[in-house]
Point group: C2
Chain length 125, copies 2
């Protein structure tokens, strides 16, 4: 049977403030509790200021056995990061790991459900 292990790579901006990077790592861990049946593992990665960077994050997925990596930009707005930096890094990773399928999804801010979450925050007692 073909190995088809799937990884979710959560790509955050990265912050000088280590607690913010830790929030992202904890979110990745929380996602790992929720992925049953869809993904086999979740790894965090950072555009800058924190480790691992994107290609190291993909390297970790591959080392864990993943053959597919789905990269989700944990960013609220489009821009250079979404349009150029992430695609460029994924392209480098494809050259490094030619047998691994790597795809980039919409960034978080694109999800229409964000508006509902904002309203919930606004109306929480």
């Amino acid at each position: 049977m073909e190995n088809s292990m799937q990884a979710l790579l959560l790509i955050a901006h990265g912050s000088r403030r280590e607690a913010s990077n830790q929030e992202v790592r904890e979110l990745a861990k929380r996602l790992e509790q929720m992925i049953e049946g869809q993904f086999d593992l979740v790894e965090p990665a950072f555009l800058e200021l924190a480790e691992p960077d994107i290609r190291s994050g993909i390297g970790r997925c591959v080392q864990a056995g993943a053959r597919h990596v789905t990269a989700v930009p944990y960013l609220l707005s489009a821009g250079r990061h979404v349009a150029k930096d992430i695609p460029d890094e994924l392209e480098v990773a494809r050259l490094l790991y030619p047998d691994i399928r790597i795809v980039q999804t919409d960034y978080l801010g694109m999800h229409q459900g964000i508006a509902g979450l904002i309203l919930e925050l606004a109306t929480k007692p």
Copy 2:
């Protein structure tokens, strides 16, 4: 009857890239279509690099008749902005508008529903 008009102030970071600021303004407009019964208006505001800033955003809410302003940080991580810059600006606004009730909610990244949205992005065909 006492006027109790309620405004939601959506506070984003602000970007050098005007299209990103425009995304926030459009999100505020979309929220305004969803607020029936809970809020009467939604205004965007920016920490830096875009207009209006927080106190001008609150000024717009007040000019529109709001007596309560609920400020939601449209940010993914805690940090100086959430812990200091926004509270400081809201405090200035309270001095400028002593009759207006101004509260700050949790920031977007705190919402537990974020994880579900990420999984939806990751599994979208």
